[in-house]
Subunit: 427 residues, 2 copies
Amino acid sequence: MSDPTTDPSISSFVDVDATSDFPIQNLPYGIFRLDKADRPRVGVAIGDRVLDLAACFDAGLFDHPALEASMPFHQSTLNPLMSLGKEAWSAVRTRVHDLLRDDTPDLRDDADLQKEVMVDRDRVEMLMPVDIGDYTDFYSSREHATNIGTMFRGPENALKPNWLHLPVGYHGRASSIIPSGQDVRRPSGQLKPDEDKPPIYGPSNLLDFELEVGALVGPGNELGSPIDIDDAGDHVFGLVLVNDWSARDIQKWEYVPLGPFLGKSFATTISPWVVPMAALDPFRVDGPEQDPEPLEYLKQSGAQNFDIELKVGLQTESMDAPHTICETNFSYMYWSVAQQVAHHTVNGCNLRPGDMLASGTISGPTEDSYGSMLELSWRGERPLEMPSGETRSFLQDGDRVVMSGHAQGDDYRVGFGTAEGTILPAK
Amino acid sequence: MSDPTTDPSISSFVDVDATSDFPIQNLPYGIFRLDKADRPRVGVAIGDRVLDLAACFDAGLFDHPALEASMPFHQSTLNPLMSLGKEAWSAVRTRVHDLLRDDTPDLRDDADLQKEVMVDRDRVEMLMPVDIGDYTDFYSSREHATNIGTMFRGPENALKPNWLHLPVGYHGRASSIIPSGQDVRRPSGQLKPDEDKPPIYGPSNLLDFELEVGALVGPGNELGSPIDIDDAGDHVFGLVLVNDWSARDIQKWEYVPLGPFLGKSFATTISPWVVPMAALDPFRVDGPEQDPEPLEYLKQSGAQNFDIELKVGLQTESMDAPHTICETNFSYMYWSVAQQVAHHTVNGCNLRPGDMLASGTISGPTEDSYGSMLELSWRGERPLEMPSGETRSFLQDGDRVVMSGHAQGDDYRVGFGTAEGTILPAK
């Protein structure tokens, strides 16, 4: 039976443009407030409006027992909702869909109720949607890993021996994950610009972005009990865009042998609207063929990748709008989210509601599909030409980076909004 | 002016043996309850007793305004107390010291009050003392880094070029940090026992411990605002023992190029009593000379290391008690906690109350002072002889590892209790 919440033939009574990220087939969740004095709560984006789920609940529009018990809409994070699991998510999504479709009168024909439970999207402030306990960053794009490996070790040794056998990943810093729109301070630290001289202290000169997608965990697992790959879907609530800001010079000097640390931990930006997995179901596609065949615990069935078009725009201080410098697709990922979940927990490691598993930089096969400045400018050897006449090898102060993405349906798109941030000069 | 709370000449009316970890000069904080139905709350260890700070507060024994506002003793973690900062910590410590000394009558002479606010330590269950938001693991023992480097790269290239210039560290997994006493399930995962064959799935065969000390953060810093090394002490609440359990075979195959991941994330054990920095002040010592001289932001003044004797005991299933296999000292650390704090935040990364900065394995200069099985058995080339007649290169199922430590004063010691755990067979 097909899911009515993703049926392309159903519309909302709220006007939604064909290029809007938020049609009735999407219904992403976020945490919003009207101003600093207002209480943060859960909302769903629909066109240019936000449906206030806390107000809907207060108006008696929900009657699911799990919601009465935990009151997940009156919270400042999505974690309580995420921890409820698939059955509750489905009930909430179905009810929200019912309320918003143009062939049901309850909300459509009640102007007072609409005033009570809906607000214009440009009036709200979006906050961090999730309290992220642990943030894991994978390295799952073969094109990205090959590009980086080629630059630093040559094309023959581009991929390390483990790369085709497991989704390589590392623990990231959770405290410095920030919501879209918050400025990013250029980090300072130890750099070694001259191979033959001692390291120096100073601001990073090789500031970069990394275009990623983050999977947010719903119900977790007990310590010591791995998640079977066939059950991975029950543990993932939704996806966000991620900018894993990176200081390449800090990273290069520090990262041997224990991996990235201060080169990344100064900021990681996520988009504020969490797109539920249910909305992305129609956009499932097969990933790249995996050769060698993965070990049994990483063998997946069905289409586990997602056809999500991704874009990075760069706007310098002299420009009026972002200029697209990268177009790629989430479907290029070699290792799927399901495989990441299974691998992450195979040793018994426990995931908790709100944990984020980021994909790693998503690069495609062509030079305009690379997901970082390091690759786009090929270590600065091919600076990018901006429409302003400027060039960019890495990010300069005042530069604004805007990531966006959507899955394209017929006459509608399931989109993510943006993950964006502007570089402030070093202190 | 000397601090009365560390004055060796002052005793408590509670009997404290000279070999007890918890004399009146220590006063470590923990979270305890009497049984599963009981509410977790803050206690202080004194000899074989626990002073119940929530009960003390309820009995009107505290009158500090910050305590009235945040009620930190009636909480299930130390985070609220830790976030209050040095002035409040000092007030609490001074008051607890006053209550417990043998020359003040208030609690000493009131048997009813004693019953209300004290409980035998063997009657309480100790819980996780802290909600650890982010866990960072450093690699700050020169002896350990040299041992590992020598094993894998030979003595000429033992230390990587960055090691003497900065405290190398990486992000650890926070979700799988567990309190002392909880069993540890042997992890399974990808291993590559045969260099010439593909990897296999199976239980780790090279299970290890790592003896570490963890510094727990009190007040944090704003994102973008580094902590000056001279202020680092204001941000550290206290220390715990840490066992950074490690699966060497999983680690070896996975860790290039992004660092340790599943080889560590299955479990990390911490001791339940947090020893306040104030109690360790008399045991400050200079660390090893640092050559080359560190960059300005890592230059410290005063004695920043701590003379804390550390010990690891190993007990197999056939033994009645742990056998000491390692004796080392926290003072061997090349990079101090203050330097770790300054380095961690130099890029603007924000620390939060409850974050843990672990030292990395603490190895000393002699073969019996190495802080891991990997080093003690030198990759299995020199198996350890146990008093039971058994040998051990790595940990076997049923093995119990007991870490302990204390700073030795004249006729008293400021101790940590134990961080211990027993290995369960793989699932």
